[in-house]
């Protein structure tokens, strides 16, 4: 159970948030120009990292804003949180 520092609300309990999968997977701007394989890469393929993992979180029982988190999966520790559109910190 984390304490997560929502970039908009500050520190809140884990139970206020929902996980939204891997971050920085931008939806292709021109899907029709992609091959099946390229589209499948976007749609299905996700990383399974030991170490710093960039992931999406939603303050679903709070401000309902989405943000990103860098989390160390090997230590299950939050490295940092940052807003959508911001560059990953590490």
């Amino acid at each position: 159970m984390f304490i997560i520092k929502c970039p908009y609300c500050g520190e809140r309990d884990h139970s206020e948030f929902s996980y939204g999968g891997e971050a920085h997977i931008n939806r292709p701007k021109k899907p029709t120009e992609l091959t099946d394989d390229q589209w499948a890469e976007y749609l299905f393929m996700r990383k399974n990292i030991k170490g710093i993992h960039y992931e999406r979180w939603n303050h679903s029982h709070g401000c309902r804003r989405w943000f990103n988190m860098a989390r160390d999966t090997s230590k299950d520790k939050i490295h940092s949180v940052y807003k959508i559109g911001e560059k990953p910190p590490v």
């Binding site: 159970m1 984390f2 304490i3 309990d13 884990h14 939204g20 931008n26 939806r27 292709p28 021109k30 899907p31 029709t32 992609l34 099946d36 589209w39 499948a40 749609l43 999406r56 939603n58 679903s60 309902r64 804003r65 989405w66 230590k75 299950d76 520790k77 959508i84 559109g85």
Partner: protein, 1002 residues
């Protein structure tokens, strides 16, 4: 034999307050402050229950939460609902009305049929169940019955729990777990810092081992240990920034210093004192810093017959003696590998229990206490071990032999010593359970033979004996120093402690015997009946990892979680496999530390508070009019309205017929409603729906299908353009929240450039849907300022009007295929508008219909319900809804996936209608469809029924289904094999009624 083993005084009991309680039907007396265990021992009762597997007689081993044997069934006030199985007799405090019973025995604890297992113990070895009940697999059902019958100890209550439970969230700066000398010292330092402190202990009183320590041997600042503790507790109570909880056990230690604790509030009270108070409270604590002072647990010694009633831990014997004022026996043998048991010997001797002998596996000890025992004339057998014990319901005799030089065998003559109790000590195991749960790593100490905390992951320290520090002076010094550093509060340690010098401990994990190992019963895990030979057997059979040995033998499983059982198992594995203890590691100590009740876990979330219930503004009308309700998500929706004891089938048939021939009225308030505004609203809808939206005229409605990016249908609904930049979207009832979240997700993360604002307004509007040939006339009577002519108000359009000057929105949209209007009005007017419609429709035979009739009516028209016809594997093309998928739009969510090789396949499952050969035969929803019937399964299943009804308007059975290659099967015969028959069906168009849509303008 005298049954009174009570001394004149005990620190922890109040002899002026007598309490009567029952054990196995017999009324007994104890005193206020007694645990059930101490009260039973005071009455000379050692035999408490029977062991799990062999049904061996078992007594009390310990005095705390580590107790593996003395588990009892608790009954309060003869109330069947208030019974608790598997309660440790050492943890329950006696009170008036308390009744306890032995477990796992029949007909009674003294004569137990199950003891026959003990005779067959040679075949009931480790892995017995795995080896025996493997095959034939057909007999598994029979095996399971017997295994389940013999498994488990106590009996669960069969009635509803009448007690109240509570949850509490708590935040503090420092949480201190454990109120022994280390915890109390730390608490005093922490309290002086002015920070918010929480101190908890699982016992009713603070002080732990100090409470039963010798008054003469140990002095702290010239005070006895008990006086010192009382003094310190008094000092603590003067601080306002500290909260002190007793009877509170930390069950689990999670990441980010999140701890779960259970506080017992009333289990120690009689029903009279308890009244309506909360029984237990579950605390969810977030602490900035945690100080673990959880102490240590004394280890038994592993010898043949070490489980007989009367054989107890030496510290427990001392606690019963000094704290509860109870003698565990009159003729006691001390068996030890360290000095701490000598204090027990001296205390027993001083209180007139005869110490028959002290058996010590060591060659000698340089400590003060053995010297003192010598002076007192107590017989000490150095370098000796107990090789066996005898006695059935209680130990009567132990046999002692000399150990060889290398401790591998016993030598010389067997010495028999008569006794009625044995106090044993195999050293001390730091209680590192919470530390390891928190992610900490352990190291092995070769001097004290124990694992101790090495590296913590969290903002936390371990102090005292849970950190492997055992001498009192060292404990207090360490607490002082580490706590001061940890919380930046420098306090000098002014305590002057005098305590006896101790000799070194010597350790033998499995003591040698004069018998072959196979003939011995040297218990390692008393609770799970695991002996040393089981561990050896597991190793012989090839299990090497300690986790595998644990699972195969069950050692340290269940509630023990490494309290009593683990160390010896680890030691024997390490010795046998020639591995270092530190390299072997430990098994995982899982939460909870001690069992939690289900009541505490659930708290107040029972009955109507179990989940949120949402009711529409018209709910009370439905209830008054005899509606049966169905749960749709959290909503209670009117399902059907039976009249005069009608069956559900009859009611639905009547309602469905009325909706097509006269007028029907439906409460559609539960449909999700999302208000969409902003200059990019049209573009947004273009992207989220499969069809085009920018050309939709103001005041027009359009049906939309929403896909996931994998191309599968996700939700559907009608969206109305209220204005240039203002839409109102409807979603399915169950999908409302997830659609809203999904749309917000896309707006925030993928398309932040779009100026669109979403607001959930589901609860703000009540929706009354009126359909049927008379619906227009009814609406004309109810609403003001609306011209209902087809020219002015055609199908799929919207008008604003009012009802009694209250603004409302009316949409002419239809889910039934009939002429149909939906009135949306501010939620609190919902019921009065509904009633107005009922009044206005009376002359036309208006009939309220529920969700079941709604489903039937839309099935006649072949309209899908997402989640019923679709299941996350169905595309719009599969649904034969190609017309709604825009070819012109550059992109929308899911578009690219519609021509992936798999989704473009011709032979996917398609949405079709089915007609049964016998028009009266109603298919079962979910039934499988085959093209070819074989004599018996398996058959190739090509699809399944998604919806099925008897249509009162078509007078025949109709069904919807998804069938492989269904588009090409129209008119073909297929089969639905059921348990007792096979039903023949013909594939048809999914639209059964009014394909041309003429009824929409009827």
């Amino acid at each position: 034999m005298s049954n009174n083993f009570r001394l004149e005084s005990g620190e922890g009991i109040n002899q002026t307050e007598k309490i009567s309680f029952k054990f196995n039907g017999k009324t007994l007396l104890g005193y206020k402050g007694d645990s059930l265990a101490s009260a039973l021992l005071a009455n000379g009762i050692h035999l408490i229950g029977r062991s799990f597997k062999y049904h061996r007689p078992r007594g009390i081993l310990s005095s705390g939460s580590e107790e593996p044997n003395a588990l009892v069934q608790i009954i309060k006030d003869k109330d069947k609902a208030k019974t608790d199985p598997n309660v440790r007799a050492t943890q329950i405090e006696i009170c008036e009305g308390l009744e306890a019973q032995s477990q796992n025995c029949w007909p009674n604890v003294k004569f137990d049929i199950g003891e026959i297992n003990s005779i067959f113990s040679s075949i009931l070895s480790a892995g017995f169940y795995y080896k025996t009940f493997m095959w034939p697999s057909k007999l598994w059902g029979k095996y399971e019955y017997f295994i389940r019958k013999s498994a488990g100890l106590g009996k669960s209550p069969t009635e509803k729990d009448p007690d109240k439970y509570d949850h509490k969230y708590y935040h503090c700066d420092v949480l201190i777990v454990g109120g022994g000398p280390a915890g109390i010292t730390a608490a005093l330092i922490a309290a002086k810092s002015g920070k918010k402190i929480l101190l908890v202990d699982e016992k009713p009183e603070f002080g732990e081992n100090l409470l039963s320590s010798s008054k003469e041997n140990i002095k702290i600042n010239d005070l006895s240990p008990t006086e010192w503790i009382k003094d310190k507790c008094k000092e603590l109570s003067n601080f306002k920034n500290i909260k002190i909880l007793n009877r509170t056990t930390v069950s689990a230690y999670h990441n980010y210093n999140y701890l779960i604790m259970m506080q017992n509030l009333t289990d120690h009270l009689s029903e009279n004192e308890k009244k309506e108070k909360i029984r237990q409270r579950l605390w969810k604590v977030r602490a900035k810093k945690v100080i673990l002072a959880t102490g240590s647990i004394e280890r038994p010694l592993v010898f043949d017959g070490n489980d007989r009633p009367g054989i107890m831990l030496s510290s427990a014997v001392k606690k019963y003696l000094n704290f509860y004022g109870v003698k565990c026996g009159n003729k006691i043998v001390i068996f030890t590998n360290n000095d701490s048991a000598y204090e027990t010997a001296i205390e027993l001797h001083n209180k007139n229990s005869k110490v028959q002998a002290i058996v010590d596996i060591r060659e000698e000890s340089s400590g003060d206490l053995p010297k003192k025992c010598n002076e007192l004339g107590l017989k000490i057998y150095w370098k000796h071990t107990i090789v066996s014990s005898s006695g059935h319901a209680k130990v009567k005799n132990v046999s002692v032999m000399k150990l060889s030089k290398d401790n591998s065998v016993v030598i010389g003559k067997k010495i028999n010593i008569k006794c009625d109790s044995v106090a044993m000590s195999g050293g001390w195991t730091p209680a590192v359970h919470l530390f390891t749960q928190s992610g900490g790593k352990l190291d092995f100490n070769n001097q004290n033979f124990c694992f101790y905390p090495k590296k913590t992951k969290q903002s936390q320290i371990s102090i005292g004996s849970c950190n492997g520090t055992f001498k009192l002076a060292d404990i207090i010094n360490e607490s002082n120093q580490k706590t001061s550093e940890f919380i930046n509060q420098n306090v000098e340690n002014k305590n002057k402690i005098s305590e006896p010098k101790e000799g070194d401990l010597e350790n033998i994990w499995l003591l040698p015997s004069n018998k072959a190992l196979g003939k011995t019963k040297s218990f390692i895990d008393f609770q799970n009946d695991v002996t040393a030979k089981d561990i050896k057997l597991a190793l012989r059979e090839g299990y090497k990892s300690i986790e595998h040995v644990k699972r195969y033998t069950t050692t340290g499983m269940a509630t023990d979680q490494g309290k009593i059982a683990n160390m010896h198992a680890l030691g024997i594995v390490a010795e046998t496999t020639n591995t270092k203890m530190g390299d072997l590691g430990t098994t995982t100590f899982r939460p909870p530390y001690t069992p939690l009740t289900f009541g505490a876990i659930v708290g107040r979330n029972v009955n109507q508070f179990f989940d949120i219930i949402r009711r529409t503004p018209i709910h009370s009308w439905h209830k008054k009019n005899n509606a049966k309700f169905e749960d749709v998500g959290q909503w209670k929706r009117a399902w059907y309205y039976p009249v005069d004891n009608e069956s559900m089938f009859d009611a639905v048939q009547r309602e469905s017929k009325a909706a097509r021939t006269k007028a029907g009225i439906l409460d559609a308030s539960t449909l999700g409603k999302i208000d969409i505004q902003g200059s990019d609203a049209s573009e947004f809808l273009n992207r989220v729906y499969t069809n085009a939206w920018n050309k939709l005229a103001i005041a027009k409605c359009r049906y939309g299908l929403m896909l996931n990016d994998d191309g599968m249908v996700y939700d559907d609904g009608v969206t109305t353009r209220l204005n240039e930049n203002h839409y109102i979207m409807t979603t399915t009832t169950g999908g409302a929240a997830t659609v809203m979240s999904k749309l917000e997700d896309f707006l925030q993360t993928e398309w932040p450039e779009l100026k669109v604002y979403l607001t959930s307004v589901t609860d703000h509007f009540a929706t009354v849907s009126v359909c049927g040939p008379h619906s227009k006339k009814i609406l004309e009577k109810v609403t003001e300022n609306i011209d209902y002519s087809d020219q002015n108000f055609p199908h799929m359009s919207f008008k604003e009007g009012s009802i009694n000057k209250i603004k409302c929105r009316v949409m002419r949209i239809s889910f039934t295929g009939e002429l149909s209007y939906e009135i949306n009005i501010q939620a609190n007017y919902g019921q009065s508008v509904w009633e107005k419609c009922m009044d206005a429709g009376k002359e036309y035979g208006i009939t309220p219909y529920g969700t079941e009739a709604m489903h039937l009516l839309r099935a006649e028209k072949g309209f899908i319900i997402t989640g019923q016809e679709t299941d996350g594997t169905i595309t719009p093309i599969d649904l034969q809804m190609d017309w709604i998928v825009s070819k012109k739009k550059y992109d929308f969510i899911g578009k690219r996936s519609l021509y992936r090789s798999d989704t473009a396949r011709e032979d996917r499952k398609h949405y079709v209608g089915l007609l049964t050969k016998d028009p009266n035969e109603i298919l079962e929803e979910g039934a499988q469809i085959v093209a070819e019937v074989k004599n018996r399964p398996p058959m190739d299943m090509i699809g399944h029924i998604t919806s099925s009804y008897y249509s009162p308007n078509l007078n025949k059975s109709i069904a919807l289904a998804v069938v492989k290659n269904g588009k090409k099967l129209k008119g073909k015969k297929l089969f639905v094999p059921m348990a007792n028959k096979t039903i023949e069906v013909t594939v048809s168009d999914p639209v059964f009624l009014d394909k041309e849509g003429t009824r929409l303008n009827a």
